[in-house]
Structures are given as C-alpha cells and as structure tokens.
C-alpha cells in the first residue's frame, strides 16, 4: 500500500493562522503514513511541519492577519520534501537556534523538533521576498514497496 511517488508537487496554500494548523497536520499525517514511515516517525514529521508553520505565524508574521503560508510537498522514491514559504521580512536563519534543552523553561523547542524529524533543514531567502524553509526526509529502501 506504500505510495512510491506522486507525479507532481502537492501545494497547500493556507491562512497564516493557528486555526488552520489542523489541516497541515492532517495532510502531513496522511502523506507520511502512505509513504510508509513508521507510526512514531509520522508523528514527528507532523509535529515538525506544524512547528515550522507556527514559527512563521509568530516570528515572521508576528500574528498579523491576512498573511499566507504556502507548503509544497514532493514525494518520490528517494525522499519526502516539504517547502514552507512565507512572505514576511527576511530574517537571518543563523539566529534561529534552539535553546539548551536542559534548561527547562517554556518555548524554544520548535527548531529542535524540526531538526529531529527531518534529515535536512535549509532556510533560504527567495528573490521575491519572504523566507523558504526546505525540509527533506530520506526514505529507507524498504519503505518504497510495490504492491
């Protein structure tokens, strides 16, 4: 039942609003399950993409209304890729750092969750503004199965 690939990208364009996050989670959850990632791995991927979007809402858009987030999903035999695009002011990703986790205080877990779930996480600044976060998760060879 594993999904080997989709013939083109899946694009989800949503309001930058906490209320739309359940849609992102449902989509990432169903896609990672079909790809064949294990239960816990799926949970981590869902959490990571959720955190990346809530970071955009809080930090890039500072909770401004009428902003958008565009997610682009690629599924192929080798990897699962999620691009998260915003149109806020460009920031310096070198400053996006996780706090020391031993230090128990609220906040500062998002980047850690994102990096734990995906094999590659790359921020870039597109020419037409905003920020792009590219997340890549490689597939183990067993996960690509024919039926």
């Amino acid at each position: 039942m594993a999904l080997d690939e989709l013939k083109g990208p899946v694009v989800l364009d949503i309001p930058a609003d906490p209320a739309s996050m359940f849609i992102v989670r449902a989509l990432v959850g169903t896609v990672s399950e079909r790809i064949g990632f294990g239960r816990e791995e799926c949970g981590r991927l869902v959490l990571a993409v959720d955190e990346a979007c809530t970071n955009v809402i809080r930090h890039a858009y500072k909770h401004r209304e009428n902003e958008r987030i565009i997610l682009t999903f690629l599924i192929n035999l080798d990897y699962f890729q999620v691009d998260i695009r915003d149109f806020g002011p460009a920031a310096d990703p070198a400053c996006f750092v996780s706090r020391e986790l031993e230090d128990v205080r609220p906040g500062g877990l998002g980047i850690h969750f994102i990096k734990s779930a995906f094999d590659r996480t790359e921020y870039s600044v597109p020419e037409d503004g905003g920020m792009l976060l590219r997340l890549v998760k490689y597939r183990a060879k067993e996960e690509t199965g024919q039926e």
Binding site: M21, R58, V104, R105, P106, G107, L109, F113
Partner: protein, 111 residues
C-alpha cells in the same frame, strides 16, 4: 479544545482536556490551568487521555505550570498521556522532568 476543572477532594484539582493541544488551543488551556494555583491547591492533575496531539506551545503551557507548582510547592501531575503525546515529551527531554502517570482515576483513588 474542551476543558473541565473539578475539585476532586479538598485541594486536589483535576483539569481534563479534550482535543489537540496546539497553538490555537494552548492559550485556553493556560487560562484554565494557571488560575488553579490561586485556589490553594495541594495537587493539580491534568488528564491528557483525550488529547491526541501536543505541540511546543502546549508543552510550554505545562512547563509554565511546572514552574508555578515548584514556586508554590504544589504537586503537579500529567496523567494518561497517549503514546503520541508521551513521545513528544520524550523528544523534548521532558519525560523525566514532569511527574507522568498512566491514569488519573487510579491516581485519585490512591489519594
């Protein structure tokens, strides 16, 4: 997100949550949880058995609760976390930091 507070015994409060605990519901949970510390509690228990999902904003809410509980010397327990929710606490290196028990009712029976 649905939330319900019950004072189970004198000073023992149970906060039962239902629904995903994410950025859209955390503020509501925070406003249900933090005022309990003003009720001279001895023990605050959060029932997570009907919470399928938690993100960093939900965790932040409980870390805040933990800090309040330490300051005011109140026992603070997370009960009934589902495997998914538990694995997220684990990923945050927080499983050992909170008192987590499998079942709120059984905990209450013991008290």
């Amino acid at each position: 997100m649905k939330s319900q507070v019950t004072e189970k015994k004198k000073g023992i409060f149970l906060l039962a949550l239902e629904g995903d605990l994410d950025m859209s519901s955390s503020p509501q949970v925070r406003s249900a949880l933090l005022p309990l510390f003003r009720e001279s509690p001895s023990h605050i228990i959060v029932d997570l058995s009907r919470v399928p999902y938690i993100d960093s904003s939900g965790i932040a809410t409980f870390v805040e609760g933990l800090q309040f509980s330490r300051k005011s010397n109140v026992r603070f327990t997370l009960a009934g976390a589902t495997p998914t929710v538990e694995s997220i606490f684990d990923l945050a290196y927080l499983k050992g930091v909170f008192e987590m028990v499998p079942d709120a009712d059984r905990l209450l029976d013991g008290e």
